[in-house]
């Protein structure tokens, strides 16, 4: 029969949750920063993207029509914890485990075909792909900048590395409009996870000094509570 042994409530976040939240904080802060830095550029909105965390409901932002007051074509970034591995030759079985986690940073961008007054037109499928690749570029540059070497969690994060970038080609039967393309930057992050430690109960306190006497003898001088014999 299992015995309850933990004497503390588990009310702390695990490191993988802290890292997940920090990735979203970094991206959220930096996209706003980039838009500010691009104030002199012709189109600062090219540096903007929305940041979401662990979302699974459908994104409906690209649905409103061209003239709709709530139309918003800002690309979307959704961060979610995908998987983690715990190398058996690292960490220990008592308190600390090394966690190598993969976070999926998914990007979504739309493209609507539009007229080009100079001639021809701008195809929406190409625009969607270029838009999402622009967001991939921004995210990789932000997360791999030297200021984010430890994802601003120095002492917690050991290493972060872009595991892969994947472009998701639309399926053949996907004929919906507008064109929406998805892409993913999988970020691998290495950090420690700690587990609850049982508070030890002091059974007896024994203090021992090791001394060498003048005649060369090595003696142990012990100091402990003792109930004198009756």
């Amino acid at each position: 029969m299992a015995v309850k042994v933990l004497d503390k409530l588990i009310d702390k976040e695990d490191t993988f949750e802290i890292v997940r939240d920090k990735i979203s904080e970094i991206l959220l802060a930096e996209t706003a920063n980039q838009v500010d830095l691009a104030a002199a550029e012709p189109n600062p909105s090219l540096w903007a993207f929305k940041v979401y965390l662990e979302r699974s409901n459908a994104f409906e932002q690209f649905l409103p029509e061209a003239n709709a007051p709530d139309k918003d074509v800002t690309p979307i970034v959704n961060i979610w914890y995908d998987n983690g591995s715990f190398p058996g030759n690292q960490g220990d079985t008592v308190e600390r485990q090394v966690h190598e986690a993969v976070y999926n940073i998914d990007c979504y961008a739309s493209g609507v075909s539009s007229d080009n007054p100079a001639g021809g037109h701008n195809p929406g499928d190409k625009a969607a792909a270029l838009n999402v690749q622009r967001i991939l570029r921004l995210i990789r540059n932000i997360l791999m900048s030297n200021v984010n070497t430890y994802l601003q969690l120095q002492g917690i994060v050991g290493r972060r590395w872009p595991n892969s970038i994947t472009m998701f080609q639309p399926s053949i039967d996907n004929r919906a409009t507008p064109n929406v393309i998805g892409a993913r930057l999988a970020l691998r992050v290495k950090f420690n996870e700690f587990s609850p430690q049982q508070t030890p109960e002091i059974l007896e306190l024994v203090s021992v000094d090791i001394k060498r006497l003048s005649d060369g003898q090595v003696v142990l001088e012990a100091d402990y509570d003792q109930t004198p014999p009756i």
Binding site: F59, F62, D106, H121, N179, I181
Partner: protein, 126 residues
């Protein structure tokens, strides 16, 4: 008149019946700017887009169905999706049931020369 001709004629009647049928006005503009005021069936419904990330994106699926004979009478050829960005696309304008106007670009066609109709999948155009 054979059965195929009868079927084609019936299809043309159905796709032009704005009074008792489902047909509505559709404006087709070819890449050269030739405009045809036609009538046909339209479809514009919501559709989830699966971008393969595990999270869907909401979109629309819009189509029109018109007869090849009507296109020919209007001086238009067969619409098709134009991939070249140095060319104008085939454009389609029609209203929804509430009178809101939408402009689309022809992205994919499915001609049925058996009974003389052509279905076009259209995408939003600005």
């Amino acid at each position: 008149m054979g059965l195929k001709e009868i079927a084609a004629a019936d299809a043309r009647i159905i796709l032009n019946d704005k009074i008792t049928g489902v047909a509505i006005p559709i404006i087709i503009t070819d890449p050269d700017g030739v405009v045809g005021n036609l009538t046909g069936n339209t479809n514009d419904i919501g559709q989830l887009i699966d971008v393969d990330t595990g999270v869907a994106v909401s979109g629309r699926f819009a189509t029109i169905v018109i007869t090849i004979a009507d296109l020919t009478e209007a001086g238009l050829g067969i619409p098709r999706g134009i991939a070249d960005n140095n060319k104008k696309p085939w454009l389609v304008d029609f209203d929804d049931v509430n009178g809101n106007s939408y402009k689309f670009k022809v992205e994919e066609i499915m001609p049925d020369r058996t009974i003389g109709v052509i279905a076009c999948v259209v995408g939003a155009y600005e």
